[in-house]
């Protein structure tokens, strides 16, 4: 790993830490939320950006983390950290099962199959409403929102916990793609057939990538439940699968910084738009079409193309 890469990513982490002390309350809160959601985007990027698995169903993994954490707290009084681990494990397990089935397909079929599995998961949340509180959602009990005696509903604690999670995910993904395993994932994206004929069991590698991706996405969902205290089926709906795709496309698929940059941009864009209209998804639609047409590389991808060739 070049020193320059490491400096850049550590720099971002440091800046986000400093912002904790200087940001006004509103932006401080927004940024905490962005960091948590950026972890979701980082998870999605491992599948889509690095491995080339274009999933349209990642909301089910985010939802698995959200509900795994929230329901463990609601029904069984599990404390925050174990509940977070339960949520993450739920996402990994779901990704494993979905991967076993969906990875028998590829390309367009893979997109539709993941979309459908995610829809089944969403409908299941509604159908088993007696247990999951379906459409209304529920509030995570305070007992499960306390970490080492600190309340996660406190603004400052929330920001710092989100920062720790985000830093871990960012540096973790940087480390991962620098590993031989990460290189193989890129090889799968670039040319799966070639990778297979170099002796790699491509199905197993893709499954592993999807499980890691699902686990990171679920960690984001679980953290969201713990930090913001609300769990609802909307988060597992199609829209949230599309959001992950949008954030990653906007920031730059297959770049370590892209997911954060895309999430940051989109959050503030929608934040501005909701002041003008209820139809903020219009912005998402226009952005999707515009990106595929004019900037398929995304923001960080364009930077890499122009200025920084070996940016990870």
């Amino acid at each position: 790993m070049s020193r320059r890469d490491l400096t850049l990513h550590l720099g971002l982490v440091a800046v986000l830490f400093l912002l904790h002390f200087i940001l006004p309350a509103y932006h401080h809160g927004v940024l905490a939320r962005i960091m948590v959601m950026a972890v979701y985007a980082i998870g999605y990027n491992i599948a889509f950006g690095y491995t080339g698995l274009l999933s349209l169903g990642h909301a089910m993994f985010f939802g698995a983390g959200l509900y795994g954490m929230g329901l463990a707290g609601l029904h069984y009084g599990v404390p925050a950290f174990p509940a977070f681990l339960i949520g993450t494990a739920c996402g990994a397990a779901l990704a494993f099962v979905v991967g076993l089935l969906a990875l028998r397909t590829e390309g367009v079929s893979f997109m539709i199959v993941t979309l459908m599995f995610s829809q089944v998961a969403y409908l299941a949340l509604l159908y088993f409403g007696a247990f999951t509180h379906g459409d209304d959602g529920f509030v995570v009990p305070d007992a499960s929102r306390t970490l080492m005696g600190l309340s996660l509903s406190d603004e400052g604690t929330r920001y710092l916990v989100a920062w720790v999670l985000f830093s871990g995910a960012l540096l973790g993904s940087l480390w991962l793609i620098r590993q031989p395993f990460g290189r193989v994932l890129i090889a799968l994206r670039e040319n799966e057939e070639r990778a297979r004929l170099l002796g790699y069991d491509t199905k197993r590698r893709k499954l592993a990538a999807l499980v890691i991706s699902g686990a990171v996405s679920a960690a984001s969902g679980a953290a969201y439940a713990a930090l913001f205290g609300y769990v609802g089926a909307t988060f597992a709906g199609v829209q949230y699968s599309i959001f992950a795709l949008l954030w990653v496309l906007l920031g730059g698929a297959g770049t370590v910084l892209g997911p954060f940059v895309g999430t940051l941009f989109m959050f503030y864009l929608i934040d501005l738009a909701t002041g003008l209209t209820d139809a903020y998804m219009l912005i998402a639609g226009v952005a999707l079409v515009g990106l595929t047409l004019f900037a398929p590389q995304g923001i960080v991808g364009e930077l890499r193309r122009r200025f920084w060739k070996d940016l990870p």
Partner: protein, 308 residues
């Protein structure tokens, strides 16, 4: 009502759904068959068909029959033209790359849906059916006095629902004839799957694609016009319709028109019957899961051949 007449009622409702679904799904299937792209915005064209029908009847303000006839003509033309424009402005520039096209049509989906919300609003609005006589249906039963013939209470349909079924049959037959017998149909089939070959033989591929994409959307819009007297126009109505069309097209075998029609009848009828026994959520859940598994284990569809 006894179980027998009740089941028949469910099947009649199912037949209406099957008719509308067959129409809509053949649009999706046509686009996939010729252009090899999946149009995720297809449900929104269906929704726009219904909304345009409402707009036409409201603006025209003539009698129900004239209003409806106008809607039946205007909606597919307007929606088809929009889709053809989208094809030329967006999809053509993506070179019809399958994955990027899906992402772009997802964007299109939200654009159309949200623009409708901003202009038409969030209310569901009805369109008056051109005719709507209630038709009581007879039922036969083997009783103690031999074969008896009676009209059970509640077993009825409307003339409009029968019209929807008939209209769908006629339109789909026309579409099949068009594809099989006309020069334009031949060109479309020639373009199927092999763009370079078709170009080499002088087929104006770009124009054919715009027409096919527009035509597919027009079929969805027609389905939307037909359904709106029964179901009301709403800006979110495209989602479920899209899901059902996907189900139909996948089960029928991607790109196969005949398979699509068989699957539409199967899904439409079984949806009517399933909804008798299950809650809608459970029914949707099982159907979606089943179709995902079909794609995983039998990608050529249940009725398709071996070609992919």
């Amino acid at each position: 009502m006894d179980f027998g007449p009740y089941l028949m009622l469910a099947m009649l409702e199912g037949a209406v759904l099957a008719a509308v679904l067959a129409l809509m799904a053949s649009g999706l299937s046509l686009v996939f068959g010729v252009m090899r792209v999946v149009n995720v915005a297809h449900g929104e064209f269906y929704m726009l068909g219904a909304v345009v029908a409402w707009a036409v009847t409201t603006l025209l303000g003539a009698g129900p029959v004239l209003n409806f006839v106008a809607a039946l003509i205007v909606a597919p033309l307007v929606v088809g033209a929009m889709a053809a424009a989208a094809d030329m402005v967006i999809l053509k520039r993506l070179n019809y790359d399958p994955e990027r096209t899906i992402v772009a049509t997802i964007g299109l989906l939200y654009i159309l849906q949200q623009l409708t919300l901003m202009t038409y609003g969030a209310d569901a609005r009805p369109v008056v059916a051109p005719f709507n006589e209630r038709i009581a249906l007879p039922w036969v039963e083997w009783g103690d006095k031999g074969l008896s013939f009676y009209f059970p209470w509640g077993l009825s349909t409307t003339s409009y629902k029968l019209f929807v079924i008939a209209a769908a049959v006629v339109l789909i037959a026309a579409l099949k004839l068009f594809m099989a017998k006309t020069r334009a149909g031949l060109i479309m089939r020639a373009t199927q799957g092999d763009r370079e070959m078709a170009t080499a033989f002088g087929v104006p591929v770009e124009r054919v694609y715009a027409l096919v994409f527009g035509g597919g959307a027009a079929l969805a819009a027609l389905a939307g016009v037909l359904i709106v007297p029964i179901q009301q126009a709403h800006y979110l109505m495209g989602g479920d319709a899209l899901l059902l069309s996907f189900i139909v097209v996948i089960i029928g075998g991607l790109g196969s028109l005949s398979g699509t029609i068989v699957a539409a009848i199967l899904i439409g009828l079984s949806d009517g019957i399933i909804s008798v026994f299950f809650t809608p959520t459970l029914a949707k859940m099982i159907a979606t899961l089943a179709v995902a598994l079909v794609l995983v284990f039998r990608p050529q569809g249940l009725f398709g051949g071996t070609s992919r």
